[in-house]
């Protein structure tokens, strides 16, 4: 029981990070029907940006308040990662809009290879140990013998994820921007006929996706305490799995899928074996797509002839 609770906490923490990345995939796929392969590497890049800003704040500017530093890192990371994704969309994907379907996919794969190698070149191939933060731990003793712990980091992750998800949900559901975004998702041509700047809306979608990936990057850096240039691929694929599992195109679905993937991975590692946890994630992806292609909360795709 104690172990179960502990794994539940860990799984929800990991799942929050996956969910945040998954939103970027699901929004981009929803609006232009493209699997943005570079998204995982963007997440990794944002973790590096966050680490560097954190080091500048604590070592050079001498900020002592950890909470203040964390908020600044979060905001600066979101802004800079958004600038990156905006530029990537502008240079690598926009010229290919209206071209055939595989072109942006290959371009995104190229971008993914570029980003991971870029970080490797400019920051070196070795793991970067992150200075520890929010290390305090709350102890529960639910089952008696097993000591269940809740780290402050996990609380921070849960809190930040919940607040930002609510903020972005509000943005997409209640503002004119979000309406334009959803309109483009339904019918791009019709939306442009009704006076919506489609290119701008798509850019904003990439910016929102990048901002949430940056949040995930900051949290990931803080939680695991180490970043590496190759950290983008697996979380990226798992977040995509989460997006597909939840139903691609659906925002609540992405979060739900992220939490499920996080839980499955953690429970699998705990009860079966750590070796095959990634195989389990991929197997779930394959099984979901084969038996339930529209995911848990997705709309079934109807093909008109």
């Amino acid at each position: 029981m104690g172990n179960f609770l502990q794994q539940l906490i860990n799984g929800l923490t990991l799942g929050s990070i996956y969910g945040l990345i998954a939103i970027g995939y699901t929004m981009v796929f929803g609006i232009i029907g493209m699997v943005n392969f570079a998204h995982g590497d963007l997440f990794m890049l944002s973790a590096f940006i966050a680490l560097l800003i954190f080091l500048v704040l604590t070592k050079i500017l001498g900020v002592t308040s950890l909470a203040l530093a964390f908020v600044i890192v979060l905001v600066a990371g979101m802004v800079l990662t958004s600038v990156w994704n905006w530029t990537i969309e502008r240079l690598a994907y926009r010229p290919l809009r209206g071209s055939f379907r595989l072109a942006p996919l290959i371009s995104a794969i190229g971008m993914s290879i570029f980003l991971s190698n870029f970080v490797q070149v400019v920051q070196g191939p070795r793991n970067k140990p992150v200075p520890p933060m929010f290390n305090e731990v709350i102890h529960f003793s639910a089952g008696g013998s097993y000591d269940v712990t809740l780290q402050y980091k996990q609380l921070v992750i849960g809190f930040v994820t919940a607040v930002l998800l609510f903020a972005f949900w509000w943005l997409v559901q209640k503002t004119a921007l979000g309406r334009a975004q959803r309109a483009c998702e339904q019918d791009r041509k019709m939306a442009s006929l009704l006076g919506i700047d489609v290119d701008r809306t798509i850019s904003i979608t990439f910016v929102i996706g990048a901002a949430l990936a940056a949040v995930a990057g900051v949290l990931y850096m803080m939680y695991y305490g180490v970043v590496n240039f190759s950290d983008g691929f697996l979380p990226g694929v798992k977040a995509f799995t989460a997006a597909v599992l939840g139903g691609i195109g659906s925002l609540p679905g992405a979060v739900l899928g992220g939490l499920l993937i996080g839980l499955i991975e953690v429970f699998w590692s705990s009860y079966f074996s750590t070796d095959y946890k990634d195989v389990a994630a991929f197997a779930i992806l394959a099984i979901t797509l084969i038996f339930m292609p529209s995911g848990i909360l997705g709309r079934p795709e109807i093909e008109k002839v």
Binding site: M34, V56, A103, T241, A283
Partner: protein, 467 residues
């Protein structure tokens, strides 16, 4: 007179205004570059032995990048502002006679060059230096040509987007490695077996994904590819895990050993032993395998199954309503593509002598798919050209010793290593080529079936398939 002067004034005013806008754009680009580089290039975090990170500053690198961004944006603006010559819009221009002429002869010339390549390099560079050229250019490129042609059956002809092709390459490689090291079977027996095993896996993995279309298919194939790699990593008693399989037997020359030992081919033929011989032999083996792949594909395109593949790519629903069995059509495409992937894999194992899961990452799948798409899907010659360009270019980036010298002598940077920029340039090249030529190098396609006269059609008329 005055009218013309006024007109010219207006034109120059417009030009200066345009230059103003261009400069403004270029400044904006430089600013953007600054924001992009600000933390990630300006600062470098290095850890000391105690695990503490400390920062070093690199303002010059950022400055150089901003200047490059400024100049680059300005050049693009100048290029876009050039006087536009009105050309009639051509949507699907019929290729000129010269294009078909080139198409007819480039293959023949290429073939002759390929067959003479080892002798040309030996004649030009001598036996020592030519070893590298035959091995890391000739053989390496031909492996990717073969993989590209194999994947072209699945992606280019049948229109099924497969992102896990490297799985079949891995199956072939491990099939040969395990059969040879466990049962001591020769390469020539293992080669077809590896192909058949890979084809079997192609069918096995193809079955569940029959109903999936488009990007969903791509993602599931990616998942399968990764699963096979992860199983190879984790199932240590079977595959050796990360350590891989070492000392895989070398290729034999029709049963005669090609190693430096008594009773080898050199003794049999009464010639001097040289390591170059086995490399040249390997070169011809992969050349023949690649040509077989090409030949089979070209022949199959004329058979009903090949036509069914292309029909499937163009319109699956129409295909089904005409009574084509889409399940079998898709499965044969998967199986045949996997078969050739398996052959290439077992060749890879015999050439390397050592394999590990590291060689079969998603990046390999992405590279092969990029070769197929950049070459122009469905075009055999285009795929070969793209493989030469991408893989050859990637290998050429190793040869930048002069650049290291230059950086050392001129700029005083001691440890500049150009080889580390290979991956970066490779990714960038993929993006740039896709943006410039989204339809691939070869923009025309020859239909395999025609009425009265064979006419090339534009590549943009060929669908990419939904499956």
């Amino acid at each position: 007179m005055t009218a013309t002067v006024q007109k010219m004034d207006a034109a120059s005013a417009a030009a200066s205004g345009a230059v103003g806008t261009m400069i403004k754009d270029a400044v904006a680009a430089a600013l953007l570059a600054f924001f992009l580089c600000f933390p990630i290039i300006m600062l470098h975090a290095e850890s000391d032995n105690d695990g503490n990170l400390f920062l070093t500053w690199r303002p010059w690198a950022v400055f150089i990048i901003c200047v490059i961004a400024f100049a680059g944006r300005f050049a693009v603006s100048l290029y876009q502002a050039r006087p536009v010559v009105d050309r009639p819009a051509v949507a699907a221009a019929p290729p000129s006679a010269s294009a078909t002429f080139i198409g007819r002869y480039v293959g023949v010339v290429g073939l002759v060059v390929l067959f003479l390549f080892p002798f040309i390099t030996v004649a030009l560079l001598g036996p020592g230096a030519s070893l590298k050229w035959i091995d890391s250019y000739g053989i390496q490129i031909l492996i990717y040509v073969m993989l590209g042609w194999g994947l072209n059956i699945v992606v280019g002809l049948a229109g099924l987007l497969d992102l896990g092709y490297v799985a079949f390459y891995a199956v072939g490689a491990y099939a040969y490695a395990l059969l040879a090291t466990t049962f001591g079977l020769s390469f020539w027996i293992c080669l077809p077996m590896a192909g058949i095993l890979a084809a079997f896996w192609g069918i096995l993995l193809g079955f569940p994904v029959l109903r999936l279309r488009g990007d969903y298919l791509a993602i599931v194939t990616l998942a399968f590819g990764e699963m096979i790699r992860l199983v190879l990593i984790n199932w240590i008693p079977f595959s050796g895990g990360y350590a891989g399989i070492a000392s895989i037997p070398k290729i034999s020359f029709f049963g005669l050993s090609m190693r430096d030992q008594p009773g080898n081919y050199a003794d049999f033929l009464h010639i001097e032993y040289s390591p170059l011989h086995s490399k040249i032999f390997l070169y011809y083996v992969i050349l023949c395998l690649a040509l077989i792949t090409n030949f089979v594909t070209l022949r199959l395109r004329r058979l009903p199954i090949g036509r069914a593949w292309e029909a499937l790519r163009e319109d699956e629903i129409a295909c089904r309503s005409l009574g084509i069995n889409t399940r079998n059509t898709k499965l044969t495409a998967f199986a045949l593509g996997a078969f050739f992937g398996g052959l290439a894999g077992s060749f890879f194992a015999v050439r390397q002598g050592f394999i590990s899961p590291e060689s079969f990452t998603f990046n390999e799948s992405a590279t092969i798919l990029a070769i197929v798409v950049l070459g122009g899907m469905g075009s055999q010659i285009g795929v070969a050209l793209a493989a030469v360009f991408l893989i050859g270019g990637f290998e050429l980036l190793r040869e930048l010793e002069w650049m290291r010298q230059l950086m050392h002598v001129v700029f005083g940077i001691p440890d500049f290593d150009p080889a580390q920029y290979r991956g970066l340039l490779f990714g960038l090249a993929m993006v740039v080529m896709m943006v410039l030529r989204p339809r691939g190098f070869v923009s025309t396609r020859m239909p395999s079936i025609f009425l009265r006269e064979k006419k090339a059609v534009s590549g943009s008329l060929v669908k990419e398939g939904h499956g």
